[in-house]
C-alpha cells in the first residue's frame, strides 16, 4: 500500500489476474469476513513472484496432493451432491468430511473429551501434523500435555446447519468452535457443514464473527485450480504448521498481513483524513458570503461530523450490514455504488463540476438509513445515528462535486504496491482503528490564510520563505491567500469534548461489529 496521490495513475489490473469479484469488489470464491486482508487474498497471494515462503504455500502445480484432493472432491461431489444435505452429521462426516481432512494431509482423533470449567468439551476433531505427533499426544498424561501435540481443532455440522447461531451456548456453532479453541489453547480452528468451510482465529478481536470461509460448491462447479487453491492452501495441514526462522505458519503470515494492512490503512487515513476534512470544509465554505471565526468553527465541526458519517457508512457497507451486492435494490443508493462511479471518473481524469449531485446522493442515503426501507432490505438505524450537529445545517448547505468527489475517492480507495487504485477494506478496520483517526483531527482548527502559505509535510510556513527549488517541489501544496486550511490548534476541543463524537462513533461501530 503506497501513499495516495491525486495524480492519475494507471489502475489497469495486471493481465495475469483473473477478476473474480462481486460488484462490491470482494472476492467471489472466498468469503473473508474480516480475518485477513482482502487485497492480500485477491492480489498478493496469486501474484507473488519472489517470496519463497508464499510461493511454497501457494503454488500447487507440482503437488500431487492438490490434484488428488481436487479430483476426489470433484467426482465425489458430482456423485453425492444431491444427497449430502439429507445425511445426518455422522453420515456426512463419514462420506465427505473425513475423507477430505485426510486428503488435506491431516491425521486426526475424533471426539476427544476434556474437562474445562466443570464441563466436558468434545471437539469433533483434534488435528495432528502426522502419526508421530498423534502417538506422542496419546502417550501424554494430561489434557494440556495432549493438546500440545494438536495443531488445530475442528468441528463438523450436518449440511445446511446455520454456522452463525445466536447466543453464547454450544448450540451456536461459531461460539462452540471458539470455546473448543480456547479450552484446548489452539489459535486456529475449522468449522464446517461440509459445504461452507471456515477458519477461525483466537487472535481476532471479534473472534466469533471474524472468519475466512469457502463455499466448496463454487470451487466444485467446474475444475478451476485457481479457485480451489483458496480451499486447499488454507485448509491443508501445511497452512497450520509453523516453519522457518520466525516459526510462523502460512495462516499466521496471512493473518499478520491483515493486521499490517489495517495499521497501514489507519496510518494513511490519519494523514488523509486531515486533507479530506480540509477539502470538505472548503466545500461547505463555498456557500458562505462571510467567513467569521464563528462560521469557520461551524464549518469545521460539521465537516468532522460529515467525515464521521461517511466512514461509518463505508464500515457498515463493508461489513455487509447493508447489502452492497444488491444490484437492483440497495446498491444504487449505496455509498459503495457512488464511490465505484467516482473511482472510475477519477481513473480517466474526468473533471467534476460545481453541482452537488454526490452530496444529494449521500443525503438521500443517510435519510434512507435513518428510516430504513424493508422493500429494499434496509433496516432502520434510527434517528440517533446521524444526530450529531445541526440537521438543518446539512439541509441548508452542500458541497460541490468538485470538492466532495475527490474526498470520497480519497476516503474509499488507496493505491496498492502495484500502483493500482483499490477499495480500502473497511471491514478489516476495527472500531479502535477508526476511532483513533478521529482523535488526530481534534487538535486542528480551520483558519483562513492571510498570506501565501505552504504545507511542507511537517508544518505550514510562508511561501515566501522557500527557495525557488523548494517552491517548484512543493507547488502542489501551496495554500493561496484567502484559502482555508487546517492549523494545529491548542487541543482545547479534545479537552472540552465540544466536538468529541468519538464515543458515539465507537458505540455505533461496536454495535455493527
Amino acid at each position: 500500500m503506497t501513499a495516495y496521490s491525486s495524480k492519475f495513475k494507471s489502475a489497469e489490473p495486471s493481465a495475469s489476474v483473473k477478476k473474480e469479484v462481486r460488484p462490491d469488489g470482494t472476492g467471489l470464491y472466498f468469503n473473508n469476513n474480516g480475518l485477513f486482508s482482502e487485497n492480500y487474498l485477491q492480489h498478493r497471494l496469486p501474484e507473488e513472484k519472489k517470496d519463497a515462503f508464499i510461493l511454497e504455500h501457494w503454488e500447487t502445480e507440482a503437488l500431487p496432493a492438490f490434484s488428488e484432493c481436487y479430483e476426489w472432491m470433484l467426482s465425489t461431489w458430482e456423485e453425492y451432491k444431491d444427497i449430502l444435505s439429507d445425511l445426518d452429521e455422522a453420515q456426512l462426516e463419514d462420506k465427505w468430511i473425513r475423507p477430505i481432512l485426510k486428503r488435506l494431509g491431516w491425521t486426526y482423533e475424533v471426539q476427544d473429551r476434556m474437562k474445562k470449567r466443570g464441563k466436558t468439551q468434545i471437539p469433533d476433531y483434534s488435528l495432528f501434523a502426522d502419526e508421530k505427533s498423534y502417538i506422542q499426544g496419546k502417550s501424554a498424561k494430561t489434557d494440556t500435555a495432549y493438546f500440545k501435540h494438536v495443531l488445530a481443532v475442528a468441528d463438523a455440522k450436518a449440511m445446511g446447519v446455520n454456522l452463525d447461531g445466536t447466543g453464547r451456548t454450544n448450540s451456536n456453532p461459531s461460539y462452540q468452535i471458539i470455546r473448543y479453541m480456547e479450552d484446548t489453547g489452539k489459535t486456529w480452528g475449522i468449522l464446517t457443514d461440509g459445504e461452507y468451510w471456515r477458519i477461525y482465529s483466537l487472535n481476532s478481536e471479534s473472534k466469533f464473527s471474524t472468519y475466512f470461509e469457502i463455499n466448496i460448491r463454487k470451487a466444485l462447479a467446474k475444475r478451476d485450480d485457481e479457485r480451489f487453491k483458496y480451499f486447499f492452501n488454507f485448509f491443508r495441514k501445511e497452512a497450520f504448521l509453523s516453519k522457518g526462522p520466525s516459526s510462523q505458519s502460512f495462516l499466521d503470515v496471512v493473518y499478520k498481513s491483515g493486521e499490517q494492512y489495517a495499521k497501514e490503512v489507519e496510518t494513511q487515513l490519519r494523514h488523509r483524513a486531515f486533507r479530506i476534512t480540509q477539502t470538505i470544509s472548503r466545500g461547505f465554505a463555498t456557500q458562505y458570503s462571510d467567513l467569521t471565526e464563528e462560521n469557520l468553527n461551524e464549518i469545521y465541526q460539521h465537516s468532522l461530523y460529515y467525515l464521521f458519517r461517511l466512514m461509518f457508512i463505508l464500515n457498515a457497507e463493508a461489513k455487509g450490514i447493508f447489502d452492497v451486492n444488491d444490484l437492483s435494490d440497495f446498491f444504487p443508493s449505496s455509498l459503495r455504488s457512488l464511490a465505484l462511479d467516482l473511482k472510475k471518473d477519477f481513473e480517466i481524469g474526468r473533471k467534476w463540476s460545481a453541482q452537488n449531485k454526490s452530496y444529494q446522493h449521500i443525503s438521500e442515503l443517510m435519510a434512507l438509513l435513518e428510516k430504513g426501507d424493508k422493500s429494499i432490505g434496509v433496516f432502520t438505524l434510527g434517528s440517533e445515528v446521524f444526530s450529531s450537529g445541526s440537521k438543518d445545517y446539512f439541509k441548508r448547505h452542500s458541497i460541490p462535486d468538485s470538492a466532495l468527489n475527490p474526498a470520497i475517492v480519497e476516503l474509499a480507495c488507496a493505491y496498492d504496491e502495484g500502483g493500482d487504485l483499490k477499495f480500502i477494506d473497511y471491514k478489516r478496520l476495527s472500531p479502535d482503528h477508526l476511532g483513533s483517526l478521529f482523535e488526530g483531527l481534534l487538535d486542528y482548527k480551520l483558519v483562513r490564510a492571510t498570506e501565501r502559505l505552504v504545507d511542507d509535510g511537517k508544518k505550514i510556513r510562508p511561501w515566501k520563505e522557500l527557495t525557488e527549488q523548494k517552491k517548484l517541489k512543493l507547488k502542489d501544496a501551496l495554500i493561496e491567500k484567502g484559502e482555508l486550511f487546517l492549523e494545529n490548534g491548542s487541543g482545547s476541543r479534545k479537552d472540552t469534548g465540544s466536538y468529541y463524537t468519538l464515543s458515539d462513533f465507537l458505540d455505533l461501530c461496536q454495535a455493527i461489529s
Binding site: P23, K222, L327
Partner: protein, 93 residues
C-alpha cells in the same frame, strides 16, 4: 438483449450465483435480479435467460434472470449446445 445461459453454481445462503453462457463467459447474479430463485432446487445446471447488466463494468453481471420454462428447456439445451459447437476453441477448453 436476452441471452441464454446455464447456472454454474448457486449459493443458497448468500443467494448469489454465476451463470455461464455457451462461450464459457461467466456472469455474477443474485436473488435481487432472479425472482425465480426459490422455485426450484437445486439450481445448478438450470437454463436461464438473462440480460447483461451494463451498469456494472468492473465485473460481468447479469440482470433480469429468469428460468427457461419447462416446455422450452430441451430447445434451450439444443441452442446452448449448438452455440458451443459453433465455437470449437471454447468447447475444447
Amino acid at each position: 438483449m436476452k441471452q441464454l445461459g446455464k447456472i454454474l453454481w448457486w449459493d443458497r445462503r448468500d443467494k448469489e450465483g454465476v451463470i455461464t453462457d455457451s462461450q464459457g463467459c461467466e456472469f455474477y447474479f443474485n436473488a435481487s435480479v432472479f425472482p425465480d430463485h426459490a422455485r426450484l432446487k437445486p439450481l445448478e445446471g438450470r437454463f436461464v435467460q438473462f440480460s447483461l447488466n451494463e451498469e456494472v463494468t468492473h465485473t460481468k453481471c447479469a440482470k433480469s434472470v429468469a428460468l427457461v420454462p419447462g416446455d422450452s428447456v430441451s430447445k434451450a439445451k439444443k441452442t446452448f449446445e449448438s452455440s458451443k459447437l459453433s465455437n470449437p476453441a471454447e468447447s475444447a477448453a
